[in-house]
Amino acid sequence: MNFRTYLKNHVVLLDGAMGTQIQKQGLPLGAIPESIQLLQPDRLIQIHKDYVASGSKVVSTNTFGASPYKLKNKQDVKETIEKAIACARETGAYVALDLGPTGQMMEPIGPLTFDEAYESYKTQVLCGLDADLVLIETMSDLNEVRAAVLAVKENSDLPVIVSMTFQEDGRTLTGVTAESYVLTMEGLGVDGLGVNCSLGPDALMPIVKEITDLASVPVIVQANAGLPEVINGETVFQVSPTLYSQYAKAFVDMGVRIIGGCCGTGPEHIKAICEVINESYQEFTLKEPTLKVCSQRKTVDFNDFVIIGERINPTGNKKLKASLRAGDLNACIKEGIIQGDHGIHVLDVNVGLPDIDELDVMIHLVDTLSHVVDVPLQIDSSKSKVLEAGLRRFPGIGIINSVNGKEKSMEKIFPIAKKYGAFVICLTMDEEGIPHTYEKRVEIAEKIISSAESYGISREKLIIDTLVLTVSAQQKEVMDTIKAIERIHELGLKTTLGISNVSYGMPNRKLLTRTFMTLARAAGLSSAIMDPLDEDLKNTILATDVLLNLDPQGERYIHFVTEQETQIEKTEVSLYDMVLKGFKDQVKAWTIEQLNHLEPLKLVDEFLIPTLDEIGLKFEQKILFLPQLIRAAETIGVAFDVIKSQLESDTVSNRGSIIMATVKGDVHDIGKNLVKILLENYGFNVIDLGKDVEPEKIVESAIKHHVKLVGLSALMTTTVVSMEETIQLLKEKDPSIQVFVGGAVLTESYSKKIKADYYCKDAKASVEVAKRIFDQK
């Protein structure tokens, strides 16, 4: 009987600890535990046999650390794993290929990329195809487990059981909750899941309870024999075999199906368990899986209204477009963090721009966003490859945006959704476009649902978007969207809308948008892709829910509804004081007011720069400290942002392309940003590479974009050196490239010395240079 079949109708008894047993064989201090199968295989076989004699039906191979990362070049992975399996096979029991963590921290916290983790596990799996199952254990990082599971599923047909390690606080060391863990692993289709190590059986009880309550697949528990205690410098475990077996019995009574032991347990523990549990053939009732969207720490169940943040999307957003084109993801990440602070439940990520490597950008964004934003991600792209790449990296259960009623779309999207357990936004349109009537849209929805179900995707994972038309162009059909929502809602399905589309082309868009929201919510809309920074819109949802009796006692309304923005009181404090004290709101209000009667550039020259100079001077005189300087810089940045949005012209820039960067080692970018805005205003296309930029990157980018003019900024004596290096490298690669430079430390003569073509003392001068270069011809 293969293991899968056996597991279906049996409680499975595993083995106990391997490490402690090998220690007992006198393994030298610090030696690799996996060396025993090469040096003393008989001893390893004996350990396995002792377990089987005690009642173990499955033995785990001695390969916990047999990964390329841990063995390095000390021992061959293939030989180590093959020998380990051969030793385990001697017992006649089922053999579990044991995989542990790589021992490296995953990106973006550590250096290990998802693909590297995957490759490492793949190597192990391919060496271990002779096993009966794979046991991935003692894991802390959700994405590392995901990489391991995918490596097993994509390279073998072996059943795979995963086990993570939880701490007293109910989370793993990287902060994963039990709920997110269960949802994510079931989404990937594992054969069993559970916990091992770190805690004794008593302390594990609440976590195991949480998991058995949720999981629909068999649950595994391998506890330590108590918490390790250091007595006379020796680590000892205190839970006796008899006591351990009592707990094991309690676990099985709670619904645990696979039981064994971890650190400190030995054959005696297994023997004791064997005596108290029922291992005979049984029929188990199968639970329905719990289906929710989740990140590593948060789940979203769609019981309450779900706000999906829409702001990471370059369409119609000049700033994001420009930064994405320059290969700078910071603006996107910042948008994500800000939305996270504004009460979103899901974050939509769209980086669809024709002239960038969308897939690569998506991967990098997902990696970072899944760590700096708490909520689950919605991967938004018209390319199925990008959707898959994004979902593959996302530690949790994400949402796909989107599939539609076209056969081609469903054929491409549903297999991806199935593979990663994702939810899917379904647009009610097909080969013939968006139907005019609501009946037709409901029909398409039904077609999509039955297609999804044929792929084994539950209808609970579908979120139907009945498509918003603009009231300015198709006024007659606006209510069809709402009626379709009503019908789909009656069918018990989740719904969503890109709510703000409705007001496109009309004055006071926000008013129309939030009024439409009221209608949609009353019709049963369960989520919206919307701007979470629109407080009025969010308040409208809260208010509507009270009136619809969806918010008992108005609890949420009372708790969350925000007061109208209070007028910031005008203070008589000077700009210098506001900036120094970090009063961002006041600085913003002040700047807006000044712009009523002052030219933006005048404001910069006569107020902002002198203020910065004064602060810089005080810093130099050691009257101000670095944290204060940083706060001042961030605060005055608000004023520059206001000016930027005023100056931004909508004319398509085509007078010529210019690269701008603050050089390596220097993070002062206020001046550079100012120059950039002004140049853009004069119709130049500026590719902004950001701050602290390597010379190589600047050169590479100049060549790639065939740029004639490069602008470099440096504000410190120490970084003028990087500027010189950059110029030298540029001239080496292409002598025809012109360089103009600026920054407070530079002078005309110094710029000549480092071979810059032009020196600019301020932003205005930069425009003259650009004109000279591009307009003479």
């Binding site: 030298p28 490296q104 916290i109 060391l173 250091v230 910042k334 970090g582």
Partner: protein, 215 residues
């Protein structure tokens, strides 16, 4: 150490890293106060091994190749290997602030450095109450000529992964606010006079970033 003193010395460290004093800026003082009380306490682990003097090393293990360690461990007969970390959550928070709040990132970074040092101090106190005896000053890979590469072996010997600590291929610790090190131990008093900066082999070349103990 009394709780209050312990907290105060941690706070002093924060201001030292920031190169400023309390009382200069109310807003910054308040933020530091909040960060100090809010961040996770972190985790520690350690194991005790027998120490051999000649050549200096852990019993049944390869000898240390470090001159710096000799004066410190000279009178010890056992050695405590330890590791401490504030964990991944701390790094995540710093990462998040990096994108939208430079000031708080800087303050949090200083708070983290002070906290992880204090965490090790606290661990040493605890060891004192469980094991009794006497301890030498602690010494970490990277100080003096004590090779950074020892971090990997150290973590293997004490199962550092159990507190979530890993070491990169270039022997840096991840999560970033972490410390590993050794402490000499004996039941008899040890006459170790080691001034962490003045006696350091690298005192002339040090950029004072390796060991954060510069006073």
């Amino acid at each position: 150490m009394e709780i209050w003193n312990w907290y105060k010395s941690m706070k002093d460290d924060v201001y030292r890293y920031l190169k400023m004093q309390p009382g200069v800026d109310e807003d910054i003082d308040k933020k530091i106060e909040i960060l100090l009380t809010k961040t996770d306490p972190g985790r520690t682990t350690y194991k005790v091994f027998d120490l051999i003097q000649d050549p200096l090393g852990i019993k049944d293990f390869e000898p240390f190749e470090s001159e710096s360690l000799k004066p410190i461990l000279k009178y010890a007969d056992r050695i405590i290997l330890f590791a401490a970390t504030l964990g991944v959550e701390f790094d995540r928070k710093v990462k998040q602030l990096q994108y939208h709040n430079q000031l708080e990132m800087m303050l949090l970074d200083a708070v983290g450095s002070a906290k992880v040092e204090a965490l090790v101090d606290e661990m040493c106190e605890k060891i004192k109450t469980t094991l009794g005896g006497y301890q030498t000053p602690r010494f970490s890979p990277g100080y003096g000529d004590f090779d950074l590469a020892f971090q990997e072996k150290l973590l293997r010997l004490i199962d550092g992964h159990k507190i979530g600590l890993t070491v990169t291929n270039s022997f840096l610790l991840s999560p970033s606010k972490s410390i590993t090190g050794v402490i000499g131990f004996s039941l008899k008093p040890m006459d170790v006079k080691y001034n962490i900066c003045d006696d350091c082999l690298r005192r002339t070349t040090c950029d004072k970033t390796i060991c954060r103990r510069v006073k």
